[in-house]
Structure formats: structure tokens, C-alpha cells
């Protein structure tokens, strides 16, 4: 509860700082605010009792699960906002809008995991998505960015309407939006509910899969990711994706009665084709952002495995989300640092990076290795935890496909790593990377290695 209130307040504070003309201190103040909120949430999490409980309508439900994911979301947002003062260097006049939109996005994401009422759930999704549409189109003079914003808006609105209609059907079947009431009704007469309960459930599911860009609902993703400004792509492929997956997770936990074998089969099939299609498509990308987009989609497929045994896999889903997001942020930070003045994100930009800027090349290599799932980095443990969960759930075929797609993924992750060390880029010899990107990339990859060496930080939590 306090997290959500504080984050929303921080967003408004950003706008006020703009009004009183304090743009210069905007980013530091926001970061400080985020750190303070992070501290408060973490304290709440470890003390195991909420600071404020004045929620008569049970709109927000503060659980261990929601707090743990909120902590991850805040960390991701802080890392991304840490880069924004550099990224928006030449657009300082509008920086308050960009930053506050990101903070509101965070508020939406937190609402998506801590809802106690489906109205709140939908508000969370909408706040997150609308900020996303605006940010995708936030380079008005760039044709691609406009296209991305438009595509994202149309597709996203479509998905939102699915979710909304599904929620309406669920309301029709159960007579309530309240999560606790719905849980009770489902537990008492789960099987005998009218058919539109199942229909509504599936519609919400599809809408959420859409937001998480699961194949075959992923067609918007690569174009939108490529067209949007890189910083926005970063937030989309980390925060939005992880928020959608965690919301899906919570939604399935609530609706566990309606998760029939057919739905499970559907999830298995989607997970398999997501991993395979995304990884195979990623092989042929020459644009780094597109490659990262497809890589993100394939990781969604892995994260979906956690949804199949949602009673036990909260920890491993959180772990996977954290491992993936930290590596992806590190990768994107390097891409931004290298491509900031180029105007494109072609892979040729990182040719010979090892010679020009060894530190960035090292971080990029670590990020790729982690995404590929090699030990010591968190990406390996993430995969290993979901795989072991799947073995316990007797989904051996799913694990086999997971292994095959991990092998395919190695081609492009190591292809990217390879060119940094072996190819030459004749164009630019001198190259200076912004310290800010380097720092953020370094922090992100250190967090990744930290949870890789000490998986118990996340795996031993009581969620």
C-alpha cells in the first residue's frame, strides 16, 4: 500500500519540480525518492507487517509476493531512470514528462501485482500501458517512433479491451470484483459456474499474454521495440514484460480452479512456440534492438514455465524475472552507450568494441552469457530453477524444448559476443562512452552476478 501511494506521489512530485523550474535536480531527486521507497518496501517486507492499513475496500492487497515483485520493479525503474538524464540530454525541456511517465508506469506495474480487486488490476494495466504508448511515440520527429507508438496503441488497446470484457464476464459469473470474494466463490462452486466464467478467464489470459508478448500474440513487439527510443525499449522489455508475467502469475493463482488441463496445455504450447519461434527469428536479426526484442520474447517463454506450477514457483519466477531483467538492462545500456550518436542500432556498431572500449565489451559479453544461461551468471540458475520445477510437474517435453531453444539461442548471443572481439569497424577509432551508461550497465550486471553467486537471496524468501 505505502509503495503504491509513495510511487504515485513521486510521479506528481516530478511534475511539480517541472512547474517550479527545477529540472536540473529532477533525476537525482527521483532517484533518491525511489531509493527511499525501495528502503520502505524492503523494511515492510522484512518486518512482515504493512505500515498503513486504511483500505476499507480491499483495493490493494499487500502480500509477500507483491512486495517482492515491487522491489524488483523499483530497482529496474531506478536503473532506467539513472540513464535518462544522459539519454534525454538534448531534450532537457521535456525531461519531467519522460521521467514522470516512467514513474507512473512503475505505479501501474505495482498495482498489477498488488491488486485486491479486479478494478485495481485493470487500472494498473491501463496506467502502465498508456504511459507506454506515450513513451513509445516520444520522439515525434522520428517516423519510426510515431509508427511504434501507433502500433503499440492499437494493439495494446485491443488487448486491454479483451481484458476488460473478460473481467466483465467474470463479474457476471461471480457477482464480484473483489479477489477474496471471487476466491471463495470459486472454491465453493468452481465447477458449477456458468460457462462465461471460463470464457472471461480465457479472455483475460489472452489479453495478458498479449501484453507479455507471447507468441502468437507477439507480432507488435519487434516493430514497437525497434521504433521506440532505446530507453523506452529497455523499459518495455524489462519492466512491462516482467509486470505482465507477474500479473499473469497472480491472476492464475487466484483463478486456480479454472486452470483446466486444456488451459494448461495451451500454456505449454504457447511456451514452447514462444521459445522456438523467438529464438529462431532472433538468429537472423542484424539490428541489436530487434535481436534483444526477440531474445526478450524467448525469455518470456521460459518465464511462462513458472506459470504451469504456480503453487510452488513464485520464487523461481521472481528469480527468472530478476536475472533476465538485469542482464537485459546491462545489454541495452551498452547498446545505448555505443549507438547514442549513430542514429541506428546496427550490429556493425559494436564491431571491434573490445579494442575500442574493453569495459563495455566485457559487460556486454557478460550480459549475453547470462542471457544464454551459462553458470556463475544468474541466467543459468534461473533456467535451472524453472527446469527443475518442470521436472517436478512432470513436464519433461517442455524441458526438452527449453533445452533445444537454449542451444539455438547460444548462436546469436555468442554471435554478438564474437563480433565485438574479432571484427573491425573501420569507421570510428576514437570512442568515448558516457560514464552514466557504463555505471548503470556495471551495476545491472553486478546485480546479476550477485544473485547468480548467491541465489539464496531470492530463492530462500518466503513468498
Amino acid at each position: 500500500m505505502i509503495t503504491l501511494v509513495a510511487v504515485s506521489g513521486l510521479g506528481i512530485l516530478c511534475l511539480i519540480l517541472e512547474i517550479i523550474n527545477l529540472r536540473k535536480i529532477l533525476v537525482p531527486v527521483t532517484l533518491l525518492g525511489l531509493v527511499a521507497i525501495l528502503g520502505a518496501t524492503a523494511t515492510e517486507f522484512y518486518l512482515n507487517e504493512p505500515f498503513i492499513e486504511i483500505d476499507n475496500y480491499n483495493m490493494v492487497e499487500t502480500s509477500r509476493f507483491s512486495q517482492a515483485f515491487s522491489i524488483l520493479f523499483i530497482l529496474l525503474t531506478a536503473l532506467i531512470i539513472g540513464m535518462s538524464s544522459k539519454f534525454y540530454e538534448d531534450k532537457m525541456t521535456k525531461i519531467a514528462d519522460y521521467v514522470s511517465l516512467k514513474i507512473f508506469m512503475l505505479a501501474g506495474a505495482i498495482a498489477m501485482v498488488s491488486f485486491g480487486n479486479f478494478a485495481m488490476f485493470f487500472i494498473g494495466i491501463e496506467v502502465l500501458s498508456i504511459c507506454g504508448y506515450v513513451l513509445a511515440a516520444s520522439e515525434p520527429k522520428n517516423l519510426k517512433s510515431n509508427e511504434a507508438g501507433m502500433k503499440y496503441f492499437i494493439m495494446g488497446a485491443f488487448a486491454s479491451s479483451f481484458i476488460l470484457f473478460g473481467l466483465a464476464l467474470l463479474y457476471g459469473a461471480t457477482g464480484s470484483f473483489d479477489v477474496e470474494t471471487i476466491k471463495q466463490i470459486l472454491a465453493v462452486r468452481g465447477e458449477s459456474l456458468p460457462v462465461w466464467a471460463n470464457l472471461g478467464f480465457v479472455m483475460v489470459l489472452v489479453g495478458l499474454l498479449f501484453k507479455a508478448s507471447v507468441v502468437p500474440f507477439h507480432f507488435w513487439a519487434p516493430d514497437v521495440y525497434e521504433g521506440s527510443p532505446t530507453l523506452v525499449t529497455t523499459i518495455m522489455s524489462t519492466l512491462i514484460k516482467v509486470a505482465a508475467i507477474s500479473a499473469l502469475f497472480k491472476f492464475l493463482t487466484i483463478m486456480s480452479v479454472l486452470v483446466t488441463p486444456t488451459v494448461q496445455l495451451g500454456l505449454i504450447v504457447f511456451s514452447i512456440i514462444t521459445m522456438l519461434v523467438a529464438n529462431i527469428t532472433a538468429l537472423r536479426q542484424s539490428n541489436l534492438k530487434r535481436m534483444m526484442a526477440y531474445s526478450g520474447i524467448s525469455h518470456t517463454g521460459f518465464m511462462m514455465m513458472g506459470l504451469l506450477s504456480f503453487n510452488e514457483s513464485a520464487n523461481s519466477t521472481l528469480y527468472y524475472a530478476a536475472a533476465y531483467s538485469f542482464a537485459a538492462i546491462a545489454g541495452f545500456a551498452v547498446i545505448m552507450a555505443v549507438c547514442q550518436d549513430k542514429g541506428n542500432e546496427n550490429i556493425s556498431n559494436i564491431f571491434g568494441l573490445a579494442r575500442r572500449h574493453p569495459a563495455l565489451a566485457g559487460i556486454m559479453a557478460c550480459a549475453m552469457v547470462s542471457l544464454g544461461g551459462i553458470p556463475v551468471f544468474a541466467g543459468f540458475f534461473a533456467k535451472m530453477f524453472v527446469f527443475s520445477q518442470m521436472f517436478e510437474a512432470r513436464q519433461i517435453i517442455l524441458v526438452m524444448f527449453g533445452i533445444v531453444s537454449s542451444i539455438i539461442a547460444i548462436f546469436y548471443y555468442f554471435g554478438t559476443t564474437n563480433v565485438m572481439f574479432t571484427k573491425e569497424n573501420p569507421e570510428d577509432i576514437s570512442f568515448k562512452a558516457s560514464k552514466r551508461y557504463t555505471t548503470v550497465a556495471f551495476i545491472a550486471i553486478s546485480l546479476n552476478i550477485l544473485i547468480g553467486v548467491c541465489p539464496f537471496i531470492i530463492m530462500d524468501l518466503q513468498l
Binding site: 520464487n315 573490445a354 574493453p358 559479453a365 552469457v369 551459462i374 553458470p375 556463475v376 543459468f380 535451472m384 530453477f385 527446469f387 527443475s388 521436472f391 517436478e392 519433461i396 524441458v399 526438452m400 533445452i403 537454449s406 542451444i407 547460444i410 548462436f411 555468442f414 554471435g415 564474437n418 572481439f421 574479432t422 571484427k423 541465489p455 539464496f456 530463492m459 530462500d460
Partner: protein
């Protein structure tokens, strides 16, 4: 605790080497590797037949532990690793290479990971070390390899994909074992109660990983390219240590877990090993590139060792362990000789060489001794190993011995023919050929001393390793 110290030394070595800068990196790495060697000798002195264990909890759920175990087998592997490490660093020490600090810290890290593989008794920890050893060698090949960049990249990539794919199957097998037993501990794996189908799948999962790493025919196609493209230091790490990691893992992790599947597949695998032995020898005969020649020769030899491990008799295993050590030292000598010739004559083509005998007598003798050791003439370390393996195979079926015996003959033929072409004949090369430097001479003296000493007196090795092998045999024959 005292066995974890060796890992700490190597990890510290990695970081200190990296931060000491390009100028001192090689010497820092060398000192840390000597420290490791000294410490492993100290472990040897302290060693009692019971061995030592160390374990702390890592993650509660899933149940991961940081468990290390030292018995006779892992002690020998650690000695091999830590004694060869300074030797391997010495081979490259006098030459200037770009990014020195990175190269030597990767070498140290790789040694750290391999030591971890030899020590860990928790399957997941083992897997982490196993995979971690892959990253440094990949970068060593890509960044410091020989020849054309795109070919080098291709070789490294093929190698990586091959081994990574194999490892993932092993990971599936390990996780499956975990879901069966609820623990990653080695002893729980040994005692796991698997039905026949499960045994076959688990066995195959492990087999792919190890067969690719060793490599056993027909999983060897990455090997020759990588050995040829990798820099000397990388080839030595791969050939002398990394392939031994696979062989060690067969004995430690694969054989005792699935005895039913093991006996079921024994025949097929032995045939594959023997095909590999003969195939490697025949292909080696047709190579004109000296490094590829040694790569195929090495394929033939590791096939021999693998045949020993899969003989499943005490003598087979014992011979395999002896030959693992012998081959580790031998291959360093062979590839170092190839590198010496390459550096001085600027060619790797065998037909362009010849007559080195007349200009470099010391090198001629050293090279001859290494060649003779590798064809296992009596009184060499390799002979003890090969002979014991053949005795072990004889207990299984005499035909295996007959076929693998041909390879000893073939091996002698192709090695001596190569030696004749490279060293004897007329000196036609324009330019000087410097005889062994002090550094190279020192390396050869160490190698020759080890190979000869244990060839004559291999009793200490047998004594150290016997209890460990007997314990494993109990599980194989249960």
C-alpha cells in the same frame, strides 16, 4: 576447509592477475600457479586414504550445497592440474601477447573452474564449474587464436555450441536425478533407485556431455579445428586438462549412477572408443599440418583412455587414470614442440620441415623422448597406462584388445613417420634454427622427468587411487 583453500588461491590469482596490469600479469599468474602447485603437494602429504570433505549450505530450496570432496582420484587430478598450470603458463611467458592481463586471468580462472570440477561432490556445483570452464577457453580461442579471424571464430563457435549442447543434456539428467532423490549430493545420486528406463535416459544425458568433451568418436568433429586455431596456451589447456575433465567425470559421475544402462551400452561405447582410436590414427597419417596431426593423435589416445574407463574392471579404470596423467604431460610436450617449430620456421606444414636434427640437438632429443613416450614404449608412463588398460579390456573380451592393439602399432607408425619427416632428412630451410632456450629446456626437463619416473615407478599413483576406484567399482557392480 583446507581443500577449499586451493580454490580460493586460484580465484584470488584470477583477480590479482587481472588487476596487476599487462606488465606483471604473466609473472603474477606464474607465482599464483606455483603457489597452487605447492599447496596441492601439501594436500598430497596430508592425504590419508579416507580423504577430506567440506560442505556448507548454498541455497535451501532447491537443496544446493557447496560440497567438496577429496579422495585419491580427485587428488591425482588436482595434482595434474596444478603441476601443469605453471608449465603451461611458462610456455607462453617469454612471448609478448596483446591484453596480457586478460589472457592470464582467464587461464587462472579456467584452472579454478577445472579444479572445482575435480573437487565438487554436489552435482549442481559440479555443473556450474563444468560450464564455467567453458567461457575462458572460448575467449582464449577467439581473442588469441592463430590464423584467419573468421575461421577462428567459426572453430570457437562450433566448439562452444557442441559442448554447450552436450552440457545441457547433462543438466537435464542432473535435474531429473534431483527430482528423484531431492538432493544434489554425489552419494545420494550413487544410491538413487532408478528403474531401467530412467537409467538409460540419465546415462545418455551424461554420456553426450562427456563424449563431446573427451571427445569420443563420432562427437569429435570440433576438435581438430579448435586445436589448430587455438593459441598454444589454449591448446594445452584443452588437450592436457579439459579433455581429462571429461574422462574424470565419466569415472566419477557417469559410471556409478546407472549400472544397468552402463552394462547395456558398454559394448556399443567400447566399439565407438576403439573406432575412435583407429580412426584418429588413420586420419593423423594423412595430415600435413603438424598441429592437426597432434590433434588427431590426441583423439586416438583419449579414445584409448575412454575405452579403459568403459571396460568397467579395476584394471581398466586404473589404467585409464594412469594414462590420463601420462597423456596430460605428454601432450604438453608434443604441442610445445609443434609450437617451437612453428615459431622458428614459420610453418606448420610437415612437408616443408626436415633436417632439424642437424641444427638443434637438444630439441631433437627432447622431442624424440616425448614422441617415444606418446607411442608408449616400455618404461614410459604411457606404457604403464596402456598396458593396464589392455589387461582390463582383456577381462571383458579378447577382441577389444586385439583391435585396440592395432592402434598401438599404428600409433608407433604415424608418430615415427612424422618424426622422420620433421626432424631427419636434409636441412633446407633458409635461416637459423635456435636450439631450446632455457625456459623451454626447463619445461621439457620437468615433462621428461615425470614421464620417465612414473614409467619406472608408478606404485605411488596406484596406491593413492586404489581405494577410490574400488569404491566406485562397488557401485558399478551393484
Amino acid at each position: 576447509m583446507d581443500i577449499a583453500i586451493i580454490l580460493i588461491i586460484l580465484l584470488a590469482g584470477t583477480f590479482v592477475t587481472f588487476f596487476s596490469g599487462d606488465k606483471y600479469a604473466s609473472r603474477v599468474a606464474l607465482s599464483f600457479s606455483i603457489l597452487t602447485a605447492a599447496y596441492s603437494l601439501f594436500l598430497l602429504l596430508q592425504y590419508h586414504t579416507t580423504g577430506a570433505e567440506y560442505s556448507i549450505q548454498w541455497v535451501a530450496s532447491p537443496n544446493l550445497n557447496f560440497s567438496l570432496k577429496l579422495d585419491g582420484l580427485s587428488l591425482l587430478m588436482i595434482l595434474l592440474n596444478s603441476i601443469l598450470l605453471p608449465v603451461i603458463i611458462l610456455t607462453t611467458l617469454p612471448h609478448k601477447v596483446p591484453f596480457e592481463k586478460l589472457l592470464y586471468s582467464l587461464v587462472m580462472f579456467m584452472s579454478f573452474a577445472m579444479t572445482g570440477v575435480f573437487l565438487s561432490s554436489d552435482a549442481l556445483l559440479y555443473y556450474v564449474f563444468w560450464e564455467a570452464s567453458l567461457i575462458p577457453i572460448y575467449f582464449i580461442i577467439v581473442m588469441w587464436g592463430n590464423g584467419d579471424k573468421s575461421k577462428r571464430r567459426q572453430a570457437a563457435m562450433t566448439f562452444f555450441i557442441y559442448t554447450f549442447a552436450g552440457s545441457l543434456f547433462m543438466m537435464a539428467a542432473i535435474i531429473y536425478m534431483y527430482s528423484k532423490t531431492g538432493s544434489f549430493q554425489l552419494m545420494d545420486f550413487y544410491n538413487a533407485d532408478l528403474n531401467t528406463t530412467e537409467q538409460i535416459w540419465v546415462f545418455l544425458g551424461f554420456f553426450f556431455a562427456f563424449a563431446i568433451k573427451i571427445p569420443i568418436f563420432p562427437f569429435h568433429s570440433w576438435q581438430a579445428n579448435v586445436y589448430q586455431r587455438a593459441p598454444l596456451i589454449g591448446t594445452l589447456l584443452l588437450g592436457a586438462l579439459m579433455s581429462k575433465m571429461g574422462l574424470y567425470s565419466v569415472i566419477r559421475w557417469q559410471l556409478p549412477i546407472a549400472p544397468y544402462a552402463l552394462h547395456k551400452f558398454q559394448g556399443i561405447i567400447l566399439v565407438l572408443c576403439i573406432i575412435g582410436v583407429i580412426y584418429g590414427a588413420i586420419i593423423a597419417l594423412r595430415q600435413s599440418n603438424l598441429k592437426r596431426f597432434f590433434a588427431y593423435a590426441s583423439l586416438s589416445h583419449v579414445g584409448f583412455i575412454a575405452a579403459g574407463t568403459y571396460a568397467l574392471t579395476f584394471d581398466g579404470l586404473l589404467g585409464a587414470v594412469i594414462l590420463i596423467l601420462a597423456h596430460g604431460f605428454g601432450i604438453v610436450g608434443l604441442f610445445l614442440s609443434a609450437e617451437i617449430i612453428h615459431r622458428r620456421m614459420n610453418t606448420t606444414q610437415i612437408p616443408e620441415m626436415g633436417g632439424i636434427k642437424g641444427v638443434a640437438p637438444k630439441f631433437t632429443i627432447a622431442f624424440l623422448l616425448m614422441v617415444l613416450a606418446s607411442i608408449a614404449i616400455p618404461l614410459s608412463f604411457n606404457f604403464t597406462g596402456e598396458f593396464t588398460i589392455m589387461y582390463g579390456l582383456y577381462q571383458v573380451n579378447i577382441w577389444y584388445v586385439i583391435f585396440i592393439g592395432t592402434s598401438m602399432f599404428l600409433g608407433a607408425f604415424f608418430m615415427l613417420r612424422m618424426y622422420q619427416q620433421v626432424m631427419l632428412g636434409e636441412w633446407t630451410f633458409k635461416g637459423a634454427f635456435k636450439d631450446l632456450t632455457l625456459n623451454e629446456g626447463f619445461i621439457f626437463i620437468i615433462l621428461i622427468a615425470v614421464v620417465l619416473f612414473f614409467g619406472i615407478y608408478s606404485k605411488p599413483i596406484v596406491e593413492i587411487v586404489t581405494p577410490a576406484l574400488q569404491e566406485i567399482l562397488v557401485y558399478i557392480n551393484r
